[in-house]
Symmetry: C2
């Protein structure tokens, strides 16, 4: 396994810069994780004011992303990294984009909470919360795998995503069942579908990040191993 | 407007390399566009064999993406680009990832066609095809905007996405209505929802690409101007 910390850079200062770049992404990830946790709490208690605050706080994440992107450019322009250092910086460019977009999905769920009185049954609400918890765990593990550039963990998360998908598919069927039992189409049902989709997209983005980690560490592209539509 | 072709590079050879890098992304985009067009034809005629061929051909796109990524790295490592050249290469790294993922979404729609006898009415099928055509047009315009690094077109596409979203939302309501009129839940209905979602994701990815173009040309981040959940 390629170790990010012991790759013999020319300059210790450069090493520090790479380390602090990685830490910046982890800090942004931590902020997004916090936002997701708050969103799930707001979802459970249907707390619209809390959800509004979360939407407002997404700006922080957006600013962090832009700063990280600039820093990546600055490092490449000043340090002329080659080989694995350059690959690390380019991997961070991609992971940065995915983590920021996870923040966007979290914001969408929060927005749904502010808009809608959830028409779904207590059972569905409980299941939505539980699916959200699974996604939160997946995101947390993804950030840990990135922190340690641990491709084994990344592979596990990538595979475990099937379980989250199973849960999600099951939940969608339930939602549709309840929708079918209702005479009229409340737009709120679509809001529920959208926020479930946002959760599932967070899972997808976590998988993207894991793929980048695996590709960086092992040079193996696992992106297209799992193309079974039914499992998506 | 910053012009990609007249930025006074040190070496003409380097200019050529950047131009051919951009052309490689356009060639990959052209391949994805072809796949999407074929998929829509297969959708209209419910031609499972044609859809299987499309799935098989996605490999080409995946290979193209990896080659482009390698070429970006090679250029940075050899040429040490700075300022706008470096920004261009990093923009291409991101656009490359998005276009490849558009290919994945196309593959998902094709996979749905191989799996399912569409239970939906002729009207819904016609609307799905029409939505697909709009998405195809959006993708084509996006590639053109990238070819010319035309931020005005990119902004127009970014705004016009609302129309596609309106269409998509309208179609979802129709699908749900038909589902509600059906006694049992056919998994095929979920397949229809998934493939609609795949179309909508292609629209999202096109928007991502447009945002990168605008950011490259104008240095303005429009990513977070449109956070209205209802319009998503």
């Amino acid at each position: 396994m390629q170790n990010f910390n012991i790759s013999g850079h020319i300059s210790g200062k450069f090493n520090q810069e790479l380390e602090s770049l990685k830490n910046a992404v982890l800090a942004m990830g931590g902020q997004v994780e916090l936002q997701l946790r708050r969103t799930l709490t707001a979802l459970r208690s249907e707390d619209k004011r809390a959800a509004e605050k979360i939407i407002h706080d997404d700006n922080k994440v957006n600013e962090m992303e832009l700063r990280i992107d600039d820093e990546c450019m600055r490092i490449i322009a000043r340090r002329h990294p080659t080989a694995s250092d350059l690959r690390l910086v380019l991997t961070i460019v991609k992971i940065n984009a995915d983590v920021e977009r996870i923040g966007d999905e979290v914001e969408r769920i929060a927005r749904m909470i502010t808009l809608t009185d959830l028409p779904a049954s207590a059972r569905i609400k409980a299941d939505m919360f539980e699916t959200g918890q699974q996604i939160l765990e997946m995101f947390n593990s993804t950030l840990n795998a990135f922190a340690r550039m641990d491709s084994e963990s990344a592979k596990r998360i990538h595979t475990d995503d099937r379980k989250v998908d199973e849960k999600y598919k099951h939940l969608l069927v339930q939602v549709i069942q309840e929708m079918q039992d209702n005479e009229e189409i409340a737009p709120a049902w679509l809001d529920i579908l959208w926020s479930l989709r946002a959760m599932e997209r967070i899972g997808d983005r976590c998988k993207n990040v894991c793929e980048y980690i695996i590709y960086f560490v092992e040079g193996v592209n696992v992106r297209h191993d799992d193309t079974d539509f039914a499992d998506e």
